[in-house]
């Protein structure tokens, strides 16, 4: 069997802008103030028919641009497509943010000079390179729910199940069924093409 490709998908016709996903994420990973790995945004606000809300975090892109630009090469991409990075290698230069189409990488301020600390972003609840479920891993990357066989917390908590995560095929099946039930409307999700290159 080929490896599953993990993807996020936010069904814009269901998202009610409740912010549950981003709060669940911040709570579960005990993120410091000022870091929001996931954020709900509203696009085309006030334009009738075009206004949509969607939940954005790191999309774990195909050919991830962040991984391409990092000067210390601290990213690694798991076989299931989850894009992770090594915070102990990261120097906080900001390049990954400049390359990212979604503004996902974020930087806490550190030290007396207030320089940018190690980058932080969504891990798809898959932790980091340290020993799985160790205290050290939790401190740096948050929960490793994938290793425990659990769904990423944002999608698990989504009250309308707008936010989906899983292997590409299962996600596509859910969407296809929903789109069919809605009479063919609302297939596209913001950033989906960009992140996965229509694959």
């Amino acid at each position: 069997m080929e490896n599953a490709r993990m993807k996020f998908y936010c069904d814009e016709s269901r998202c009610i802008e409740c912010d549950g996903c981003s709060i669940a994420c911040a709570e579960a990973h005990e993120l410091p103030a000022g870091i929001a790995r996931r954020k709900v945004i509203t696009i085309h606000e006030g334009i009738p028919g075009k206004e949509v809300s969607t939940s954005i975090a790191c999309m774990h892109c195909t050919d991830a641009p962040c991984e391409q630009v990092c000067p210390v090469d601290c990213f690694y991409i798991r076989e299931d497509g989850v894009v992770l990075h090594d915070k102990e290698k990261c120097i906080g230069c900001g390049y990954c943010l400049y390359a990212c189409p979604f503004g996902a990488p974020q930087f806490p301020r550190e030290g007396i000079f207030g320089s940018k600390g190690a980058m932080d972003k969504c891990t798809m609840c898959a932790g980091g390179p340290l020993a799985t479920n160790s205290h050290h891993e939790f401190e740096l990357y948050g929960q490793n729910r994938i290793a425990e066989g659990k769904v990423p917390v944002c999608a698990a908590m989504c009250s309308t199940k707008a936010l989906l995560v899983g292997d590409a095929e299962s996600v596509s099946n859910v969407i296809r069924a929903r789109v069919a039930a809605r009479g063919g409307k609302g297939f596209n999700s913001y950033g989906w093409d960009k992140a996965y290159k229509n694959q």
Binding site: G34, A36, K39, I41, T42, I43, I56, P65, Q68, V69, C70, P71, V72, D73, C74, D86, E88, K89, C90, I91, G92, C93, G94, Y95, L97, Y98, A99, C100, P101, F102, G103, Q106, F107, R109, G111, F113, G114, S115, K116, Y190, G191, K194
Partner: protein
């Protein structure tokens, strides 16, 4: 001077306060522009451009400059060699304590900024982590002394750095540095090469400070900048990163040239900026127009 330093410190302070108080320009509501600005038809596609250039070219060009420029000078040293002028008792006091102090602060800053810049660029070679992070922090910290001296340095030498018609002739023969022969060059206090370094260092230095500061502060709000450039905040950061790298190539190449000229190409020339005294023979041959003027004034 004092006032100028205070203003600088105040500005740095304000920028930090602005960061804490203002809404995030990148991760808040503005995150939408960030997304819209990436590779969309109507935008400059700076995100895609930065990704392309940084992933494919920047480090290689830096490696090319790091190896290429010293190679050229090594060949010059082997083939043409040093110019040696007799150091007699006749000297002229050309650089006073103020000139030298300003120059030395800039010199020390560069000696930290440039190697650390290379360590960041080749961060994967150095394995990332503490060492490269330290390099990043030193790179930023030593920008402060450079930023303090850059304007005084610009002002104290601007009169000597204006190009004139003689400079075209200097460029045609590259100042006579391609031949072993000593010939009289009709340059003023600074020759065309030195003038070029002045402008690259001052204008390029300002560009490096500004683009570096943008990347350092990252999340700040200066409305004027957006109106002026028409760019979203994230695109300004991307432009800064591109400009910092491209200007970096030029600055490093000309900086290496400056070091070679002062420390190697003309034997002992470096002492003039340490002691303040220039040698009569050197001035006579390499800066003849200046020499004549000094003679008229009864110097030497």
């Amino acid at each position: 001077m004092r006032k100028y330093i205070y203003t600088l410190i105040a500005l740095l302070g304000f920028a930090t306060v602005a960061f804490g108080a203002a809404d995030s320009q990148i991760w808040g509501e503005m995150r939408i522009q960030n997304i819209l600005g990436y590779g969309q038809e109507e935008s400059l596609k700076l995100g895609a451009w930065f990704t392309f250039l940084q992933s494919k070219y920047f480090a290689w060009v830096f490696l090319g400059v790091l190896i290429g420029v010293p190679t050229v000078f090594f060949l010059h040293y082997k083939i043409v060699g040093q110019k040696v002028f007799p150091h007699s008792h006749n000297k002229h006091y050309a650089f006073n304590l103020f000139h030298r102090t300003i120059h030395q602060v800039a010199a020390v800053s560069f000696m930290v900024i440039i190697p650390t810049g290379f360590i960041i660029v080749f961060g994967d070679f150095f394995g990332g982590g503490t060492l490269v992070r330290m390099a990043k922090n030193l790179h930023g910290i030593f920008t402060i002394p450079f930023a303090i001296v850059i304007l005084p340095m610009a002002l104290m030498w601007i009169k000597e750095a204006i190009f004139n018609l003689e400079d075209i002739k200097w460029f045609m023969i590259l100042g006579g540095y391609l031949s072993k022969k000593k010939r009289i060059i009709n340059a003023t206090q600074f020759n065309a090469g030195q003038k070029m370094w002045y402008w690259v260092c001052i204008l390029g230095g300002l560009v490096m400070i500004l683009s570096g500061a943008m990347m350092f502060f990252m999340d700040f709000k200066i409305e004027m900048l957006h109106n002026l450039t028409g760019l979203s905040h994230i695109d300004m950061l991307r432009a800064s990163a591109i400009i910092h790298n491209v200007m970096g190539f030029i600055l490093v190449a000309v900086f290496f040239t400056h070091i070679y000229m002062a420390a190697v190409a003309i034997k002992g020339a470096i002492h003039s900026i340490i002691t303040g005294y220039v040698e009569e023979e050197e001035v006579k041959f390499l800066h003849n127009a200046w020499y004549k003027k000094l003679k008229e004034k009864g110097k030497f």
